[in-house]
Structures are given as C-alpha cells and as structure tokens.
C-alpha cells in the first residue's frame, strides 16, 4: 500500500509545481497577450552577416 501513497504524493508534488507555475504565469502577465507571441516567434531579428 505504501507505494500508492508514495506515488500519489509524487503526483501531488508535480501537481503543486504545476499550480505554482500556472499562478506565476498568470500573475506575471504571461497570459495577458495570447495573440502576438505566436507571430513574434516567427521573427528572429537576426543581424544580417556583413556582405563581402
């Protein structure tokens, strides 16, 4: 039986980590803009290499 508790505990630890991550992501504004990140990732703004 012990193993069920251990693994359930592990599950809850992961659950807790996820909750922390979720709350942080909402509070820090990660979710404020759900449109532009999808477009911004397409542009790398790489500096063009110097032409010879």
């Amino acid at each position: 039986m012990l193993m069920y508790f251990v693994l359930t505990a592990m599950g809850f630890i992961l659950f807790a980590i996820c909750i922390v991550g979720l709350i942080w992501s909402i509070r820090s504004g990660q979710m404020d803009d759900l449109e532009s990140p999808a477009v911004r990732m397409l542009h790398d703004d790489t500096i063009p290499p110097p032409s010879k």
């Binding site: 012990l2 193993m3 630890i13 992961l14 790398d44």
Partner: protein, 754 residues
C-alpha cells in the same frame, strides 16, 4: 515590471555549434538504433535460429535478442530522440529568449556526457549488464551519470531563461520546463537500486510495488521524454517551417496545462488485470481516456497551423515530415486510450499490438518530427539549401511506407495472438494448447518478415538523411552563428538592486517578510527548482526507511527467499534478458488461468527485486513454470534440451539457443560475490537469510545443484542429444533450471494448483 528598459541594446551571439553537434549525433544514433531494430526483427522472423540462412552469426551470446532489445530501445529513445531534443531545445530557446545558452562549458559537458552515457549503454547492455527494468536497464553507475548530465541540461535551460531578454515565455519553453521537471522526478524515483557490485544492483522495491513504480516511470517517460519535448519542438519548428503562426496560441496554452495535470495519473493502465488493486487500475484507465482530448487539441492545433498553406506541404520535405509526425501523434494518442480500456487491453496486452503502438509513436510521431526538424535546421544554420530535396522526399516516402507496414503487420499479429490465446473449443478447453502451433497456423514469421522489411525501409531512409545532411554542410560556406541585438530586461539588473528595490519601504518584520517573498517571486524558476529539489530530497529521506521496514512485515505463506542456487539462476535470467520475451504474470482472466494456472497474487513478488512481470509474450508466461513443466514435460530434462537448442523440443521456435550457459562455470570468485549479494539482500532488502558467509552459501549451492543434476541424469535414460558435462553442478544452466523450478512452486506445496 513591464516598463521598457532604458539600458542600451547589446549584441548577442548564439551558440549554434552545439546544436549542429547534437543533430549529427541524432542521425548517427538513429541509424545505430534502427539497425539494431532490424537485427532484432530478423531474429524474431526466425533468422539466426531456426532457418539459419547464413545468418548464424546473429546467434552470438552477446547478440541474443534479450540482450540486444534493451540496446535498441535505449538507442532510439535516449540516444536518437535525446540528442534531437537537446539540439532542438538549444536552438529554439536562444531565439525565443533572445539569449545565448547559459554556461558555455557546461553545454559542452552536457553534450559529451550524454553521448558517452550512450556509448556506455552500447557496451554494457550486450554484455548482459542490466537492471532488468524496462526502459531503465542501465546499471547504477550509468544512472548516476544520467542524473548529472540531466541536471546540467536543467542548469542550462533555467540559466538561459534567467538571463533572457524577452519577458514572455513562448509555449514551447513551458513544454521544455515540464520535460525537465518530469524526467528528474521519474529517474530519481525509479532508479532507487541497491548496488551489489560495480555492475550489478537490485531494485529497492519488489514485486507489485516495483511494478507500480516501474510503470509509473515507463508511462511518464513516454509523457515527458517522447511527448512534451516533442510537442515543444512542434510548437516551434512547425510555425517556423510553415512561415505562419500557430493556429491558436490560446489552445496551445490549454494543451500544455491539461497535459501536465493529467498525464501523471495514467500509468496503471500498463497493469490491467494484474495483481494491482482494481481501484488503481480504474484510476489509470479514466485518466487515459481524459488524456485523449488535450492530445487531439494539440494535434488539430498543429494541423490547422497549415490552413491555407497546404500547397507548401507539397513542395517542402520539411513540412511533409512535420505533418505526418503530427498525424501520427493524433493516431497514437487515440490508440493509446483505446488500448487502455479493460476489455481491449485484455486482448492487446503482451501482444505485438503494443509493439506496433510504441513504434507508431516512436517512429511516426517522434522520428518524423526529429527528421523534419533536422532538415529545416541544418540548411537554416548553414545559410544554404538542402543538398537534395529529391533525396529528402525519397526518405519521406520510405519512412512513411516503412512505418505503415510496421503498424499494420503488428495489428494483424497482435490481434491474432490475443485471439488465439483466448480461443476455446466447444468443449471448453483451450484451442491452442501448443504455443508453437499458434506461430505456424498464424503464419506469424511471414508477418515478422514484412515488419522487418518496413523497418529496413525506415533505416534506409535514415541513412539517406545522414548523407543528405553531411552533403548540405559540405556544400555550404560553413556554419555562421547568428547574432541579434536585444535590450536587457529590467529584471536583469543584479540581485542587489532588486533587493534594495523591494526592501526600501519595508520597516516592520511583517513588511520585511513580504518584501523577501516578493523578491523570491521575481525569480520564479529558482523557486520552482528549489521546491522540486526540496520535495524530492525530503521524499527520498522519508521513503527509503519505510520501504525497507515494510518489506519485513509481509512473509506470505509458502513463499521462501531465493536459495543461493536460485539467486544465481535468477541473475542469469536477468542478464540474458529473458524478461523481454517471457512474462511472469498470470492475469485474472479465464484463458490465462486455464493455460498457466492460478493467477498471480500481490504477495508472491515479495522477494522479486526487481519484479520480472515483463510486458511481452513472444514465448509463454513462466510464472507457473514449476507446475507446468513438472507435470507434462518431464521437468528439468525438457528445459535442459530446450535451452541448449530450442529446436529439439519446440520446432520452429524463434528463441535463441543458450548453449554458452552449459560451459560457463561458477568459480570461487562467483561464490564470493554470490555470498556478498545474499548479505546485501539480508541487510538492506530485509530478506530473512540466516548465514550468508561464503562457506554456507557454497555448501547450500552445491547441495541443491548436485540433487538437480542427479535428477536430470536419472531422467535422461536413452536421450543423449545434450549430454551432462563434468562438474555440471557448477554450470550456469543448472542455476537457471533451479530458478525455473522455483516459479510457482509455493502453490505445489500449498496444494493450491487450481
């Protein structure tokens, strides 16, 4: 937090060399892993054993199926996929976070350590050095090396996140973070093993407990090594290659959080109809079904990204690979929940169907993603075009036909096996009593040849990929590492500034507490990291003593610890990888109890460190071998001839021969280490042994072995095809026979054989 930085922008040069190195190793290890797979497929189709078509060399002891199979799985999962993940992650996070990879030296260390671990695996596994736990076969020193390399990966990932110049974390990064957190936890919990020597350890857990931990690990390794990182790669490389944003960013966020909250609970679906309590089985099934929804949300999100751009798929090999990959993700995440239904699982479990399912996932979803990504990355980084699009298209079609052939043949043989195992005659007896009859009547070797051909196509495609990529690099002007300009975020100012900012108005202790709290919140990933490590550490400290204590409690009726001889035989069983083809778990289903005997009960595994339930029945179940072979086949004599050459007893068998066990002797040194093992079992694993000194162990060993040999010679009579050598009592085969005699023997003593 969100005001723009006033600091001037500076130039950041990316570390792209390491990405290139990882991608090359992806292809190299991919070819190795696939090649081993093809060899295994040949062996299963009967090559190198029954129909030796000049392929007798496949019959070497270190090339036996049981030893090579873990090499195949480890090479494909940890070497091929692992290198692709690191390469793909390191390229994308630098662009997404606008930062060069943190800790330059550590990045190189991580590359070399990971690849040396794989070399170590490629050496130790064929030598028979294995823990016997599926997908976690590597022995304890390598396990520690994996942990070190993996923690380096975490440091690089979180270090780069910490010094980022882009406040928003794109969804792909969330998937990468989940990967790191998940695998760290799984690896630590499942790798708890007690070393008995430099290259031999025993799982800390035993029996049903070990099975539960193992499949909690096994299932979630699929989740956090073959799903979340690959999804992260999909959310980066699919939009990049298509040149358009992901269909719905909102949906991708939902996809992520739903997956990470649900996945961890689905593990028990690997243990349906076993000695695992039913409530745990039901929990696993329920969450498996629930998982289907977020998975398909992700698949649709990927496919819909290409809406209005399907014309690009026709012309771009990269997109072809990515589209098929996402399609296989959808297929596998439907097949998985379906196979976890109790009634379907009763038929599909232990058959080839499962093998087909994992290959749809590993070759279809993961493999196509890794190849597609590589075909996009190398030309992009080398500022050139792919050397031959035609060749890439040929690779695509070979791989697609290969995987389809593979999946279809495994459906056919899997469903056929399941049905034949379950088929009853009108009189109510099993229709296929004879295991070999199912092979011949089902024409299974033919389908195995088709499967081998599918694998061969996939392998050939991978070789084309390596040629194409190397040629692309050779025909370019060399790798040019990209640079960007970016302004630092305000949070990039040092800890001291942040500390002063938060603390300047705090006067009372209460205010100071909240100021510190706010400070920690500014480095959330540090917080998550510290919490994880603290919880894991605390967990381990708590678990270990209780685990050891609780094993002392249950000593079930009639179940005795392994004698020295049986222990030696069990180690041979583990070394030769018998568990890869033979289960030791009679499920609670009538056809199984009819065929093998009483179903396996939880307490039976109390001395099984590690559990050896297995997951595939290429050969029959062995949990009741002592009952079956003693009553119908003349016991030891049958095993003696069978193991020397399986054709003597089972014509057409694809089992390799184990002739090398007949001239390998246990010497004094082996007796020494056997005594040491027993001592460790007594002292650490709480097994009730009295005397574990070398003299006692040797005496008990020889006594039992002498009896067995005498019984064997007595049974032999006129049969002289496999003679008994001199000093036979010390051969490894006799130890193995003693172990097989033990399986289920407690039922005989209890008179409980039905």
């Amino acid at each position: 937090m969100s005001e723009p930085s006033t600091l001037p922008p500076d130039t950041i040069q990316f570390n792209d060399r390491i990405v290139r190195n990882f991608l090359i190793m992806t292809l190299v290890w991919g070819i190795v892993g696939l090649l081993v797979g093809v060899i295994l497929a040949l062996q299963l189709a009967g090559m190198g054993s029954s129909w030796d078509l000049g392929l007798g060399f496949l019959n070497q002891e270190w090339l036996g199926f049981g030893r090579l199979r873990p090499l195949h799985t480890n090479a494909v999962i940890f070497a091929f996929t692992g290198n692709a993940i690191f390469g793909g992650v390191y390229y994308s996070i630098q662009r997404l976070l606008k930062a060069r990879l943190a800790f330059g030296k550590l990045v190189d260390f991580q590359f070399w350590s990971w690849n040396l671990i794989i070399v170590a695996a490629a050496i130790t596994l064929p030598l028979g050095i294995t823990t016997g736990k599926e997908y976690a076969e590597l022995e304890w020193p390598i396990d520690i090396a994996i942990a070190v390399s993996w923690i380096s990966f975490g440091a690089i990932l979180f270090g780069t996140i910490y010094k980022r110049r882009e406040r928003h974390l794109y969804v792909a990064i969330w998937f990468f973070i989940a990967t790191w957190v998940g695998i760290t936890m799984l690896h630590v919990v499942n790798s708890m093993e007690v070393p008995a020597s430099m290259w031999k350890s025993y799982s800390l857990y035993s029996g049903v407990r070990d099975a539960l931990v193992q499949w909690w690990y096994g299932h979630n390794a699929v989740a956090f090594f073959l799903t979340t990182p690959i999804l992260g790669l999909m959310y980066y490389y699919l939009p990049k290659a298509a040149g358009r944003p992901v269909y719905s960013y909102r949906l991708s966020i939902l996809h992520f959080w739903a997956l990470v909250f649900i996945y961890i609970w689905a593990g028990p679906h690997h243990l349906l109809h076993t000695a695992l309590p039913e409530w745990a089985q039901t929990l696993g099934v329920t969450f498996s079904i629930v998982l289907w929804m977020p998975s398909w949300a992700g698949m649709l999100n990927g496919l819909l990204t290409l809406r209005g751009a399907w014309d690009k798929v026709r012309s771009s090999p990269v997109l072809k690979f990515l589209v098929v990959s996402v399609t296989f993700y959808g297929m596998s995440t439907f097949e998985g929940p379906m196979m976890s239904l109790r009634n379907i699982n009763a038929l599909s479990h232990n058959t080839d169907w499962t093998i087909g399912h994992v290959h749809s996932g590993a070759l279809g979803w993961v493999g196509f993603m890794c190849f597609g990504m590589t075909y996009w990355l190398i030309p992009t980084m080398y500022k050139t075009k792919l050397w031959s699009e035609k060749m890439a298209n040929s690779h695509f079609w070979m791989a697609t036909i290969g995987i389809v052939l593979y999946a279809i043949t495994m459906w056919i043989t899997g469903i056929m096996q399941g049905s034949m195992w379950f088929e009853f005659t009108d009189e109510g007896t099993l229709r296929y009593q004879d295991w070999m009859a199912m092979y011949t009547e089902g024409h299974i070797p033919f389908f195995y040849m088709v499967r081998m051909f599918g694998g061969l196509l996939y392998l050939t495609g991978a070789i084309l990929a390596l040629i194409n990529i190397v040629q692309t690099m050779r025909n370019s002007n060399g790798l040019v590492e990209d640079s960007i300009q970016a302004t630092p975020l305000i949070k990039d100012t040092c800890y001291a500034t942040a500390y002063n900012e938060e603390m300047k108005d705090a006067e009372t202790p209460r205010e100071k507490f909240w100021a510190v709290h706010a400070l920690v919140e500014r480095w959330p990933f540090l917080l998550i990291l510290l919490t994880t490590l603290a919880l894991l550490f605390g967990g381990i400290i708590e678990i270990v003593p209780t685990m050891i204590q609780s094993t002392q409690v249950a000593v079930p009726n009639g179940i005795k610890p392994w004698t020295p001889l049986e222990m030696a035989g069990r180690d041979v069983y583990i070394r030769e990888g018998c568990v890869n083809c033979h289960t030791q778990m009679v499920r609670t289903l009538r056809p199984e109890t009819e065929r093998y005997g009483p179903h396996t009960r939880p307490e039976e595994g109390v001395y099984d460190h590690p559990f050896l339930w297995g997951s595939k029945r290429t050969g029959p179940d062995l949990a009741r071998e002592a009952l079956i072979k003693s009553s119908t086949h003349g016991g030891n004599l049958w095993h003696w001839r069978h193991m020397y050459d399986p054709q003597l007893t089972s014509e057409g068998s694809v089992m390799p021969n184990y002739a090398h066990l007949y001239d390998t002797y246990m010497d004094e040194g082996d007796m020494d280490s056997l005594a040491r093992k027993l001592t460790i079992w007594r002292d650490v694993l709480a097994t009730p042994y009295d005397d574990c000194d070398v003299e006692t162990v040797t005496r008990e060993y020889d006594e039992q072995a002498t009896l067995l040999v005498a019984e064997l010679e007595g049974a032999m009579g006129d049969i002289v095809d496999v003679s008994v050598p001199e000093n036979a009592k010390r051969t490894e085969i006799v130890a193995l026979l003693a172990y097989l005699n033990k399986l289920g023997s407690h039922l005989k003593e209890n008179g409980d054989t039905k």
